[in-house]
């Protein structure tokens, strides 16, 4: 599928003298917008009331969006790699923005299926294309620090929710004078519709700004002082190229898929239940030592660690290697989960500390994955391969809550659960992390039979566009 000339990859090849530090803000402009998907809890109750529906029916909007994220990243990954980041960002901006507008129409006309179609399907496609759009470009601009580069962008995805949550509360308060931003009041449906229109338009402008300033490096470009031979000396780092089609035939891809699936499922186990979990862990009879407000603070703290982990751990992987950092995420994470299950209820500070570090590993797992893929498969179609890998996220998004909610349903009723009721779910997560740890250990360099012919050039990106 051809794209208009102003979006074409050939039009955005950087001229000599271009400063590569303009690329991270371009990537962040997209990721900060699509990260809004993690801020849906702000208006969830309002939608339940407006549609006179259930939490499950409204929660499905988010689930559809996340499933579409994985599917669209997998399906459109090759298209994104072929046409370049500007076309991808432009397309993502259109889908994401139109998704909000269609969903707003659905809220205004009281048709939930339009919200599913708008935010869930159209917005989800925007999410998937937007998520992978700057990743391969960042890796090509920062061959010396790919973990730092992708960490910056994917940190933005975590940061998007940090911005959207308070902003949405303030906007809802403006559009509905009866809403004060606390759980005691619920915004009207028309206020949520207006919020969606506002967010849709603001995100459109912001993402288009990213699309306007993004550039790809020229064939012969390399950062000053960059030594390709030094990178090649590191184990697992290839200077060859593997196509997206061939990558999924390699055990390395599926081992990494398992690693990401296990890491994300375990993290979601805590994130999904964060607020009730901390209250249940310190429940004394019918009351908890942790108030509702403090539990809300705990959720905020986890958001901060989720975002910080994306940047800090991914940057650290540039120094110690991708395989080593995943051993930390999975191995140390496993031990922390065991501690959470056994001694987590002994002190609030200990519970918070353990959960915060676990969530930082969850975030780090996301942001380090593209750099791991670059190491294993080269830069040739790393965006498309990353897109296919994100199906692990979709699967984990279904599996994580299913495991936790399924176990807790057998243990008692919400509001009466205690720390011991979480033990089985937490030990299932320990088992998953152990599987992920072994899968990571088994990752070896990709066999030469999968390498593209005559490609000692994985760091020369433009050749990929011609293929």
């Amino acid at each position: 599928m051809a794209v208009p000339s102003f979006l074409a990859r050939e039009r955005i090849v950087a001229k000599p003298g271009f400063n590569r530090w303009l690329i991270p803000p371009a990537a962040l402009a997209v990721h900060l917008c699509i990260g809004q998907v993690y801020a849906t809890s702000v208006y969830k109750a309002a939608l339940v009331a407006d549609f006179e529906s259930s939490l499950t029916a409204i929660g499905a909007i988010f689930s559809i969006a996340i499933v579409m994220l994985g599917l669209s990243a997998a399906v459109f990954g090759t298209w994104v790699d072929r046409n370049g980041p500007r076309a991808a960002m432009f397309t993502a901006a259109c889908f994401w923005s139109v998704g909000f507008l269609v969903a707003a129409l659905g809220i205004s006309t009281n048709q939930l299926w339009l919200v599913y179609l708008g935010y869930g399907v159209l917005g989800g496609i925007g999410l998937g294309i937007g998520y992978i759009s700057p990743v391969s470009t960042l890796i090509k601009w920062f061959p010396d620090r790919p973990g730092l580069a992708t960490g910056m962008a994917i940190m933005g995805f975590g940061g998007g929710a940090l911005i959207a949550s308070p902003l949405s509360r303030q906007l809802l308060g403006t559009y509905d004078s009866g809403y004060d931003g606390t759980a005691a009041t619920t915004a009207s449906g028309s206020a949520v519709a207006l919020l969606f229109v506002t967010l849709g338009l603001v995100y459109l402008v912001f993402m288009m700004f990213g699309a306007a300033i993004i550039r790809v490096p020229a064939d012969d470009w390399a950062p000053a002082g960059f030594d390709l031979s030094a990178v090649k000396k590191k184990s697992l780092v290839t200077s060859n190229s593997v196509s997206a089609a061939n990558s999924i035939k390699t055990p390395q891809f599926w081992l990494l898929w398992i690693v990401l699936f296990c890491n994300v499922t375990a993290g979601i186990g805590i994130l999904e239940q964060a607020s009730p979990m901390i209250q249940d862990f310190f429940r004394d009879g019918e009351t908890s030592l942790v108030t509702v407000a403090a539990a809300g603070g705990f959720v905020g703290l986890l958001s901060l660690f989720n975002m910080a982990g994306r940047f800090v751990w991914s940057s650290t992987s540039d120094l110690i290697g991708r395989k080593a950092i995943y051993m930390v995420y999975l191995g140390v994470g496993l031990l922390l989960y065991v501690a959470l299950a056994t001694v987590g209820s002994s002190a609030v500070w200990l519970f918070v500390l353990l959960a915060a570090v676990i969530i930082s590993f969850y975030g780090g797992g996301f942001s380090t994955a593209p750099a791991y893929l670059r190491d294993l498969f080269g830069t040739f179609q790393v965006g498309a391969i990353h897109g296919r890998l994100l199906t692990a996220w979709s699967a984990a998004g279904v599996a994580g809550p299913l495991i936790v909610n399924g176990v807790l349903d057998t243990q008692g009723t919400p509001g009466e659960l205690v720390a011991g009721d979480y033990r089985i779910a937490l030990f299932i997560m320990v088992g998953l992390l152990a599987i992920g740890f072994v899968a990571n250990l088994l990752i070896k360099p990709v066999a030469t039979k999968w390498h593209e012919p005559n490609t000692e050039t994985a760091l020369t990106p433009e050749r990929s566009a011609a293929r």
């Binding site: 000599p16 271009f18 933005g156 308070p166 403090a294 809300g296």
Partner: protein, 48 residues
């Protein structure tokens, strides 16, 4: 950290510093707003 090209025969066009500053400001300022708001929310964990 600046970047460079191996091809020195072409004319170099430095990226305007103002564009860099504006681009970074556009993403950092909203992020700071979100961080401050979230830290305020998170502080309830220690005060609530």
């Amino acid at each position: 950290m600046s970047s460079s090209s191996h091809d020195t025969s072409r004319t170099t066009t430095p990226t305007p510093m103002a564009l860099l500053v504006v681009a970074w400001a556009l993403v950092v300022l909203p992020l700071l707003y979100g961080l401050v708001q979230t830290v305020r929310t998170a502080s309830a964990l220690f005060t609530g």
